[in-house]
């Protein structure tokens, strides 16, 4: 019993309740005529698509910069990498690799400048980050039209210039990870490659947090004055965390695109930060404490609920309301997660 109580305390009631709800959805699903295999496939696929972007929250939380509401900035770096790789004519698996290589300089540059900015607004990072995200999306709305891209699969058919709002990754990096070692059992299909890629990045993050630099990063987030008194250069550690977060955001969107099959430009990155923020909060992270477990649990619960609720509800009430339900559920989850935001006293 004691063991049970400790488990509940460590795991947390909110997570238990959400997990129970998700489980009940899976139980109801067959009776509502929803195929369990398809549902599981969807949930796992969405987990693998979004995991890296949720992972991107970790470094900034550790360094005390709060939740990265400025994730769209990293996503833009990823979009630049993704589109440039296609523009330069790389195809297949190579195009995915090149997309990561090409997005890196942008992510480093954007992250560095974004980090410098956040160092000047200590205490108000999350508010500023939100607007950095919004502003960068709006700026890029102009740039996507103006940048001299010429790959016919990407530019508008009429006029011949300016990128389309949605670009298919077919023939480039479509499903390069998802189809790698894909396991198919009946309706169930597991995107092993995507999961492995996420696991690799999560392992690297975990490892980083166990190094000297990573320890310093956690200490900066826990008590910046303590860290400074121990000879840590707080600002450079914070900048490093922002760069890491931005780069993970960039890679995260590439993983998302390869599974989704489309690149979404213009307003696409606008609302990408909120699901990631919510997922890690639901996973049990606070504004200055987060672990890899928080990332995995949170992403699975959040994406599970968002996938399952609309399909199950839809089948029960027999009207096509899936889009409405999806919006209500996902925004409701975000709202719930943000009210759960706990800031540990510094």
């Amino acid at each position: 019993m004691n063991k049970m109580q400790r488990f509940i305390k460590e795991f947390g009631w909110p997570r238990l309740i959400i997990a129970a709800f998700l489980l009940s959805l899976f139980v109801i699903a067959p009776f509502a005529g929803v195929n369990i295999g398809t549902s599981l496939t969807d949930t796992i696929m969405r987990f693998s698509m979004n995991g890296v972007m949720v992972l991107a929250m970790v470094p900034m939380i550790h360094s005390g910069c709060g939740l990265n509401f400025g994730l769209p900035l990293g996503i833009i770096a990823g979009l630049l990498g993704g589109t440039l790789a296609m523009q330069f004519g790389f195809t297949g698996k190579l195009s995915f690799l090149m997309a990561i290589v090409l997005c890196t300089p942008f992510a480093l540059l954007f992250g560095w400048a974004y980090g410098k900015l956040l160092n000047r607004v200590k205490g108000g990072e999350m508010m500023i980050a939100t607007y950095v995200g919004f502003a960068s999306v709006s700026f890029m709305c102009m740039m996507w039209l103006l940048l001299p891209y010429s790959n016919p699969q990407m530019v508008w058919g009429y006029g011949g210039s300016g990128l389309r709002t949605t670009i298919s990754t077919e023939g480039y990096y479509y499903h390069v990870l998802s189809d790698f070692l894909n396991i198919k059992i009946g309706h169930l299909s597991i995107p092993t490659g995507s999961l492995l890629f996420f696991a690799l990045l999560a392992f690297l993050m975990w490892a980083f947090l166990h190094t000297k630099k990573g320890t310093a990063m956690t200490a900066v987030g826990s008590n910046p004055i303590y860290a400074r008194a121990s000879g840590i250069k707080i600002d450079s550690i914070r900048t490093l965390s922002v760069i890491m977060s931005t780069w993970l955001g960039a890679v995260g969107i590439l993983v998302y695109e390869q599974a989704f099959g489309f690149i979404q430009l213009y307003n696409g990155p606008f609302y990408m930060a909120l699901p990631a923020v919510s997922a890690i909060l639901i996973g049990g992270a606070s504004v200055n404490k987060a672990s890899i477990t928080n990332v995995i649990v949170g992403t699975f619960l959040f994406q599970g609920i968002v996938t399952m609720t609309p399909s199950v509800m839809n089948s029960i009430i027999h009207t096509d309301m899936s889009e409405v339900i999806r919006i209500i559920v996902s925004n409701g989850m975000i709202l719930y997660a943000l009210t759960r935001k706990t800031e540990e006293t510094r």
Partner: protein, 530 residues
């Protein structure tokens, strides 16, 4: 003049088991000025808070004893009640509205008002202000003080002295004011302003208002007070008439706990002739409330140097400035090498370490384990407790080494904890202090700054911490600079003690000098010569 105005009997108060006042008795006659002196934390402010009915007293469990004011037993539950019965208090910190004029501040919430049509409709809250009568009231109050104060001046534009006068005027403008409590009113005043205030106090007393006057400036006390009470450790240790009191007598009573110094072994080496380990020249530190103006000091190898002085005089600024936590200037040489100021990592790398007085703010990672708290600085500065992989490219935390060193310090300093993984937040103050000390010792420093090592911890932990300091000094030869407000503690541990007053070193004496001499230095008397 003869009638007794205030009588406080057997007053006692404890904060959650920590006794701060014990059996305090106090009698005050009408028109009498009572001087209250004592070191920081002697219980002066708490006593006045009880009298004034401050909320913080009731919230922490009330007090014991009885108070009789103006012939009636009273027990104030709020400051408003105290005010209503004629007690006014001027606090150390100003409570004034800077954008309002002196008049407006003085009569705030007691403005004279005029009835108007609107007030017929909406009640007396919408009466208009009668500025002329307000002005009259304010000037009347200012005249009682007999100081020059422009009643139309914005408080924000005033020099501090005038702000202080505005505060006092506000208390005086109340009807039926019988007792005025002044908590260190002269601390912020220039000499000239202080003199003006003192003569005002005398005038008030002559007009029949009693005054309780708290200050650290002993000469002032002698000048205006009829009766002087000296407090120490929550008790009144001495009651004097101003006629037969002297500055040195008061100073001795203030600090003069006679302590057993026999336990202290004489040092084998004479520290005064030992080589200079650290030389501080013309150090200034910009630390709010603890500004260091111009400090020059020599720290000898192997000694324990004490730095004492009253709060706010700058003693805490010295280690904080040298260790780079606050902006500082001047030159600090350590073992012949100049230390880069404003650069904590350079200080730590040269072998300095610092136990901060601000445990929660600077000293600890409250939400992390003891292991992290103790090992972190040493890991970051000296690359200890790390395993190197890939030719030093990856520096991996060595959890085993961390646990081992933590356990060692837990044992050595007798830190009471359930495990080395316990969060620092859940420890008691004394044990937190030991963790801070362990963190500094883990750096294996050659010179250790320890700031207020016993503040807010119980007696048992106190002696353990002090013993540990002496042990490290004797066995490892660590030079220690210890900053403390408690003179007796410094005298029992240190070899020499420097006293800081007004941001400067006013004198350095060997620790065996009588405490009276240190007391005089603290209140700004240079001693023998003057």
């Amino acid at each position: 003049m003869e009638a007794t105005l205030l009588e406080m009997k057997n007053i006692s108060k404890d904060f959650f088991g920590n006794t701060v006042l014990e059996d305090v008795n106090l009698t005050l006659k009408k028109g009498e000025v009572l001087g209250l002196v004592g070191e920081n934390g002697a219980g002066k402010s708490t006593l006045m808070k009880i009298l004034f009915g401050m909320k913080s007293i009731e919230e922490t469990g009330g007090y014991g004893g009885t108070i009789e004011f103006d012939g009636k037993p009273v027990a104030f539950h709020s400051s408003e009640e105290a005010l209503a019965s004629g007690i006014g208090m001027v606090h150390q910190e100003f409570s004034l509205l800077p954008e309002f004029t002196a008049t407006e501040n003085i009569v705030l919430n007691r403005e004279s008002t005029r009835y108007s049509v609107v007030s017929e409709l909406f009640g007396s809250r919408l009466n208009t202000l009668d500025r002329q009568s307000m002005q009259k009231k304010a000037i009347e109050a200012i005249n009682k003080l007999a100081v020059k104060l422009d009643s139309e001046m914005l408080v924000g534009d005033m020099p501090v002295g005038h702000k202080q006068f505005t505060e006092i005027s506000r208390e005086l403008s109340r009807d039926g004011m019988k007792l005025l409590i002044l908590d260190e009113p002269t601390a912020v005043l220039t000499e000239h302003e202080a003199l003006a205030l003192l003569s005002s106090i005398k005038r008030l007393a002559a007009s029949g208002i009693s005054v309780i006057f708290i200050t650290h400036r002993l000469a002032e006390i002698l000048e205006v007070c009829d009766q002087i009470l000296v407090m120490r450790d929550g008790c009144i240790v001495k009651q004097l008439d101003s006629g037969n009191a002297s500055v040195s007598g008061i100073a001795k009573a203030m600090v003069g706990r006679e302590v057993d110094t026999s336990s202290k072994k004489a040092k084998e080496v004479d520290v005064e002739t030992a080589p200079v380990e650290m030389e501080i020249k013309n150090l200034w530190v910009d630390m709010a409330g603890e500004t260091v103006k111009d400090v020059s000091l020599q720290v000898h190898k192997g000694e324990i140097l004490g730095i004492g002085g009253l709060a706010g005089q700058g003693k805490l600024g010295i280690p904080n400035g040298i260790m780079g936590l606050y902006p500082a200037g001047g030159t600090v040489t350590f073992r012949g090498k100049e230390i880069k100021l404003n650069n904590p990592s350079d200080c730590l790398a040269s072998g300095l370490a610092f136990v901060s007085e601000d445990r929660a703010g600077v000293g600890l990672l409250l939400d992390e384990s003891l292991e992290w708290n103790i090992s972190f600085s040493a890991m970051q500065v000296n690359n200890k407790f790390l395993k190197s992989y890939l030719g030093g490219l990856v520096k991996w935390r060595d959890e085993d080494a961390i646990r081992e060193v933590t356990q060692r310090y837990v044992d050595a300093l007798q830190i009471k904890c359930t495990s080395t993984r316990q969060k620092a937040r859940s420890l008691s103050g004394g044990n937190q202090q030991k963790v801070c000390l362990a963190k500094a010792l883990a750096l294996e420093p050659s010179l250790l700054f320890v700031s207020e090592p016993t503040r807010g911890i119980d007696i048992g932990a106190k002696s353990l911490v002090l013993q540990a300091l002496r042990r490290y000094n004797e066995q490892q030869g660590t030079t220690i600079v210890m900053i403390s407000s408690e003179l007796e503690e410094l005298r029992s541990v240190c070899d020499r003690i420097a006293i800081i007053t007004d941001g400067k070193v006013i004198g350095i004496r060997p620790a065996h000098c009588p405490s009276e001499e240190f007391g005089l230095l603290m209140v700004g008397h240079q001693g023998e010569g003057k």
